[in-house]
Symmetry: C2
Subunit: 304 residues, 2 copies
DNA sequence: TGTTGTGATAGCCATGCGTTATGGACGTCC
DNA sequence: GGACGTCCATAACGCATGGCTATCACAACA
């Protein structure tokens, strides 16, 4: 039914040399091994491929019929192998950059530039990941590096470089009472204490510690938050806020993703700032990955 | 380096089903066997071919690159197998008929007709064999059946049917003294006794008993023949006789092959007649071979 | 007549590739 | 929420495959 490619290779070589001993040498196997394999192939095909007279080996009509096909198969397999090698090379050069929302802040072009200056063959590819995954695809391998919000669950599995630290703001519906209070505030801000009774939009439970972080659990004491809804994208968040399902904390730099139409954002006093990092798996030592992380470190400590 | 065709088949099937269990069923192997083979293939290629997430199996980029090649290889192997089958069928229907010289006597068309009436697919192919082989190719398998002159060496290896029995004649140069004597004879013949001192053309030594037969050794008592030359074809025989190297016995029906220009043939008294047979190897039981022999028997005993 | 070249055979061992049994991670259903 | 079904991976094991070396059989040749 099937052949082993090796057998075709053996066959083609014997057909070329018409001498088992020499063919065996060319194939780097012993002559008996070659004889046996050819016999097995003949047995499998139910016909002989070579006439072996005492002094000479020559192809039978069947062997003659098989030879061109065998050569074609061998060539096709070569081509298939080459295709696989190409695909492997492409995969090796591709760096999938996961992100829950565009990191903005000029980060992507800066990092990209540093990466390709070191590895001109590298092909960075951006990938949008659902908010339910706080590792932005690192965990399941669908991203090679990722923009993530700290804290990162399971964080010994990842290494990261913080690329931005910025205050959190709260997104509110336009007509919300706190919007007016903020407008009256001398800083245009609200205290987190005033938000404790508000329903909050939360990340899906799978997000783990990150869900807690955006609910600012650590600033609530023993008061549990009211959950007004679960959101997993900027679009859903905007909709939910506009519909009055709840309010949500955001990084200041991300406010623009949600603020439009009925929704505004105001600074919040009394919550820690948010930290955005570039992360990769600890066990991933590929040079392009390490280079991207190094670039992120330099961006963070560099001119800003 | 090489692949087993089976592995490509497995790969293509999994790629189609995207489910190892179902693919294993379609391939009539157990699911673990399939899993293992795919892993081995991936190991061999140095890359993974499938993403196996918890709930889904899908091709990697490399797998995607390999798939069309795998399909092509499988199709090519199908074609190769078909070509081999065709060649086998052709070989099975081909009947190689060996002969040292054309048997003439209307035998070939008669036997061919009987063969194809029984086996319409049979393709009789004529093959001229050097006179050094008294089996006309049966011995080394290059003929399936053969027209041979008795006695046949090694004759338990062959079965045969005598298809002609006819007197032997002697071929002489035109100006040979015995030519004149024959002309004066009331039967136009010569006695073999008068030929004992003549140089004879002989078959090559490999011809064994047949060489002795055409030297008529059994009619010479203890007188050893003088050998004027060794001949292995009608053309050589004609040349050698015309050049005066010697004379030669021939079957009457074969005289025309040698008699022209300087050479004549005259009947000989005192030698046994020659017997032409159709022979095949005893261990060859193929229907077309047996049919050809049976046809030869009927020709011999039939209307003549 | 011994030497050389060639393919086939024998005996041995490591690996390949199949099997069944079982495990573990998810879903789904009652 | 516990039992069950689905799906892929692993473990343990056995027969077949495919390699090796040593040796034979035979023809050619010196």
């Amino acid at each position: 039914m099937d052949v082993h490619g090796r057998d075709l290779r053996y066959f083609a070589t014997v057909a070329e040399e018409l001498n088992f001993t020499r063919a065996a040498e060319r194939l780097f196997v012993s002559q008996p091994a070659l004889s046996k394999q050819i016999r097995m192939l003949e047995k499998q095909l139910g016909t002989s491929l070579f006439h072996r007279d005492r002094r000479s080996v020559r192809l039978t009509a069947t062997g003659e019929a098989l030879l061109p096909h065998a050569r074609e198969l061998l060539a096709s397999w070569q081509a298939a192998q080459a295709a696989v090698e190409d695909a492997k090379a492409a995969e090796r050069h591709t760096l999938v950059i996961g992100m829950s929302t565009s990191p903005g802040r000029g980060l992507l072009p800066a990092l990209r530039a540093r990466l390709v200056s070191l590895y001109p063959d590298a092909r960075p590819v951006l990938r949008q990941v659902n908010w339910a995954d706080p590792s932005a695809g690192l965990a399941d391998g669908s991203s090679d590096v990722a923009f993530v919000w700290l804290p990162l669950p399971d964080d010994e599995r990842y290494r990261y470089a913080i690329v931005a630290e910025e205050p959190r703001v709260v997104a509110l519906p336009y007509g919300h009472p706190l919007a007016a209070r903020a407008a009256a505030d001398h800083e245009g801000a609200v205290d987190f204490a005033d938000l404790l009774d508000e329903p909050f939009l939360a990340l899906p439970p799978e997000a783990g510690p990150l869900r807690d972080y955006w609910l600012a659990l650590d600033s609530r004491g023993d008061r549990t938050p009211r959950i007004g809804g679960v959101v997993a994208s900027a679009e859903e968040t905007h909709e939910a806020i506009a519909n009055g399902q709840g309010v949500a904390l955001l990084a200041a730099g991300n406010a623009s993703l949600v603020v439009r139409d009925e929704v505004i954002a105001v600074p919040v006093r009394g919550v820690s700032p948010s930290r955005l990092a570039v992360a990769a798996r600890t066990d991933d030592e590929r040079p392009t990955v390490l280079a991207y992380l190094a670039a992120a470190e330099r961006v963070a400590t560099g001119p800003s």
